[in-house]
Amino acid sequence: MLLTIKRIFSNLQKDRYIRYLLILPLVIVLVLIVIYPFIYSIKISFTNAYTSNYLHPKFVGLKNYIWLLRSPKFWNSVKVSLIFVGIAVFLEVLVGLGIALLVNQRLKVKKITISLLLTPMFIASAIVGIIFRLMLNELYGVIPYYLTRLGINQGLLSKRLALFTVILIDVWQWTPFVFLILYAGLQTLPIEPLEAAMVDGASKWQSFRFVVLPLLSPILAIVVVFRMMDAFKAFDKIYVLTAGGPGDTTTTINVFTYFQAYEFDNFGRACATTILFLILITILAKISMSLLYKSKLY
């Protein structure tokens, strides 16, 4: 008996078995918290589930999906999400790259400078929302006060500008991330090609455009992918700052889904939205993954 146990144990110690044994806890947990909820979500998306009937909801077929695909509000949220992600990530990469190039010069207090440039990315997005709700307050906010002094009398949280404001706040919060990664990327670049370009008499712009940028492109790809995926997740600060308003102007897919589930108590429809959202993200992720793959860094 003891011998059999011993043999089983020594067999388990062999790499052939142990590799699966080691990964088993992870697989079990992912099945429980990722795959099971996902399958459950698909099931619920074909029903009319809400809080009091969710254990035995009525099967409604494709009704939720048809409602969504016909709903201008749903398409509006897709549009808002795409605008938010597109413009925010574009600006973050542009500004982040600029700052990275600025810091990448001979500076005396580099370490402290870098530290001081990173603060926003550590703060909870919900608190970022609180900070800007305070600063954008119509009556006593600092930002409207100075804008009025400069002769700009626009309500930054008005229907016309709210999305733009939320984008700028995202840029404020996440440009530090882009800067940090791109700066680290610049650090890893080989110095020889740049020297060769200098010898050949390339201007600063030329050596940036034709030497630095191509060398940096794998890292740029990583930054764009990570920022894009995280920007699609943005919820906290929008919820705290505008709750999707005024009207639907800042209702991203996240906010839309949240309201379907927890304001309108329509879990079936909310699950259908997440499935559609998932399809959109999967398409984008496929593109992103091939970008990452090409970057050869993974």
Partner: protein, 276 residues
Amino acid sequence: MKKKKVAASILTIVVLIGIILIVNIPIVWLIMTSFKMRPDIISDHPVWIFRPTLEHYIRVLARKEVFPVDLYFSNSLIVTISTTLLAILITFPAAYSIARFNTGGRNLSFWILSIRMLPPVVFLIPIGMLFMSYHLLDTKFGLIIVYLTFNIPFATWTLKSFIEEIPREIEESALIDGAGRLGVITRVTFPLCAPGLVAVSLICFIFSWNEFLYALVLTSLRAVTMTVGTARFLTGYAIWWGDISAAATVAMIPVIVLGFLSQKYLVRGLTLGAIK
């Protein structure tokens, strides 16, 4: 030529100082507000110099029935630390298996990575419903489990990159000396991976501490975290900005400190090991 260079470097410094101000003023403004008296907060022009007061902090700490700050803070701490430890416990062996034996191949590891990219609402709604059935709503345990959805993919990938860097030869010599594979992992690889474990812990801590959406929906009274508790202050007609700022400052300071401490590992952690 020299003059031009000096002018350029002065310009660089001025621009950088400007950027540093833009980056930090909103945070400083929040902290300043938490020390201002009410008239200074709602004054019709911004007040930059003022007589500081601790009244908001005292009130936040004293009015436990409105804002049980000790409960929220300890909830955040317990949930954050537990989910971080649990994530490491689950992902370290898995990361080892992937790094050393390429278990599951590219498909598995990229599938794990793709979980990192999914928006939380996708999990939130089904998990919220399942929590209702399993009576896990408003429990710290529930939050600890849910936070694994974002901590596991991150930790697996980052640890994998750290383990790959440990030379196989070190493990092999221990294996030849008669140690079993499990012994090698716990006694050789695990300690050698210490920097990776520190990096992962710090970043998991920051992610989990800052999490908002799950805690907003899945907790109501007993398991409310610091971020959600602070944001709940915002409802109602009169917003008590002093109190909110004080609570937000308390919620914010630990992660800012940790953020600066983890700076060395940040790039590597945030790119999941791609850039070292």
